[in-house]
């Protein structure tokens, strides 16, 4: 019966103790600190990476907000430029229209004046001719009894009656 034998007790206890203590020493001084240090370092690294990622996200958000603000600003400026240009163009067109209108008015005025002048000239010519004609006629009719002064007076009267 080899089970539960108690032979070589001293040897068993001694060598088991030695083996166990060596294993315990290696684990205690060597393996456990190394593993725990690595686990801690890994945890720190992961935490650092997460922090860095969070910072990058915040940075990116800041840049995006900046960009959006600039975009809004640019849109506003573009709108202002367009409206200013439109106002200028309108003002210019208005000015043109005014100029043309005043030109037209001036030309019409000139035309009216020249018509009036021509009419006055024509009237003057007609008046002179009629006066001459009246003088000739009166000479023929009155044979010198009527002088030029009387003839003009007669003619004026006649013309006033005719023209009025």
């Amino acid at each position: 019966m080899q089970l539960f034998v108690m032979t070589y007790l001293e040897s068993q206890y001694f060598w088991t103790t030695v083996a166990f203590l060596i294993l315990l020493g290696v684990m205690w001084k060597f393996v456990v600190p190394a593993v725990l240090a690595t686990l801690d370092a890994r945890a720190a690294k992961i935490a650092g990476d997460l922090d860095a990622a969070e910072r990058s996200r915040l940075d990116a958000e800041g840049v995006l907000a900046d960009y959006n603000a600039k975009l809004t600003q640019a849109k506003k400026e573009a709108g202002e430029i367009v409206s200013r240009a439109r106002a200028e163009a309108e003002a210019l067109a208005q000015e043109r229209i005014h100029q043309v209108e005043s030109d037209l008015a001036r030309k019409a005025d000139e035309a009216r004046k020249s018509i009036a002048a021509a009419k006055a000239e024509a009237l003057g010519a007609v008046r002179a001719e009629v006066a001459e004609m009246v003088v000739q006629v009166s000479e023929k009719v009155l044979k010198g009894s009527v002088d030029a002064k009387a003839a003009k007076k007669l003619t004026d009267e006649a013309l006033r009656k005719e023209l009025n």
Binding site: Q2, Q12, W15, T16, V32, T38
Partner: protein
């Protein structure tokens, strides 16, 4: 083909030191081989620690993390100081169990001298730690809180007996499992040899059983080491945190 022959302790190098017989027996030799293998494996694993671990480092980290979770879950934060000891208990028992599965190896944990030694070690540690942290209040674990006073004459002796039985149950559970498994392996291996010369096809049944029992024994080797470690943690919890 005595299936118990494998458990025979034999001196390989007789050694007497000052009247003490420190002969290196097969049990001592295989204990040393198993421990050396664990130290080699774990030293290689932690030789160059990287943040992104290789296979060996992962193995070491997972094993250490497994026992860390176990002891943390049972003993709690007070057990941190005892963690290397708990880890060593697990690795010691499991490597002796597993090395015993090698052909021609000697299973040190099949000897009551090894398992009894481990059990007494754990029991003594629990006593020392218990009285050191709780003083005489440690004795209150024999009278569980909330027990009616008239049950005390029954409960206290029962608790005392179950407490004193701890080293025996720890030692015998492990030894009995190892012995039974290895006897079964030897018995079925003997069946294979006996049936081989007689009728070859009939070899299949014991051989399949032998394969299955080998797989089972590998599992039992780790399971018994786990149970031993869990019980160590439970007893340590009693000592550190009270019952």
């Amino acid at each position: 083909m005595n299936p118990l022959h494998q458990f025979e302790v034999a001196p390989l190098f007789p050694l007497m030191v000052g009247g003490w017989d420190l002969s290196i027996t097969n049990q001592a030799l295989w204990t040393g081989i198993a421990v050396a293998m664990v130290i080699a494996l774990f030293s290689a694993g932690v030789a160059r620690m990287r943040l992104v671990p290789g296979r060996l480092q992962s193995f070491v980290e997972l094993t250490v993390g497994f026992i860390q979770d176990l002891s943390g879950g049972i003993v709690g934060p007070k057990g941190v100081a005892f963690f290397p000891l708990i880890l060593t208990v697990f690795l010691f028992v499991s490597c002796l169990n597993l090395v015993g599965m090698l052909p021609h190896a000697f299973t040190a944990t099949s000897q009551i001298t090894t398992t009894g030694y481990m059990a007494v070690l754990v029991f003594a540690m629990v006593l020392v730690v218990g009285f050191a942290t709780q003083g005489l209040h440690f004795l209150a674990m024999f009278y569980p809180h909330g027990t009616p006073w008239w049950l005390a004459p029954l409960i206290v002796p029962l608790e005392l007996i179950s407490f004193l039985a701890r080293p025996f149950t720890l030692a015998i559970r492990l030894t009995a499992n190892m012995v039974a498994g290895h006897v079964l392996l030897k018995v079925f291996a003997s069946f294979c040899i006996m049936l081989m010369g007689w009728f070859t096809v009939s070899l299949a049944a014991p051989f399949v059983m032998l394969l299955a029992i080998t797989a089972l024994e590998l599992f039992v080797a780790l399971l018994q080491a786990y149970i031993f470690t869990v019980l160590t943690c439970v007893y340590l919890n009693d000592a550190l945190n009270g019952h």
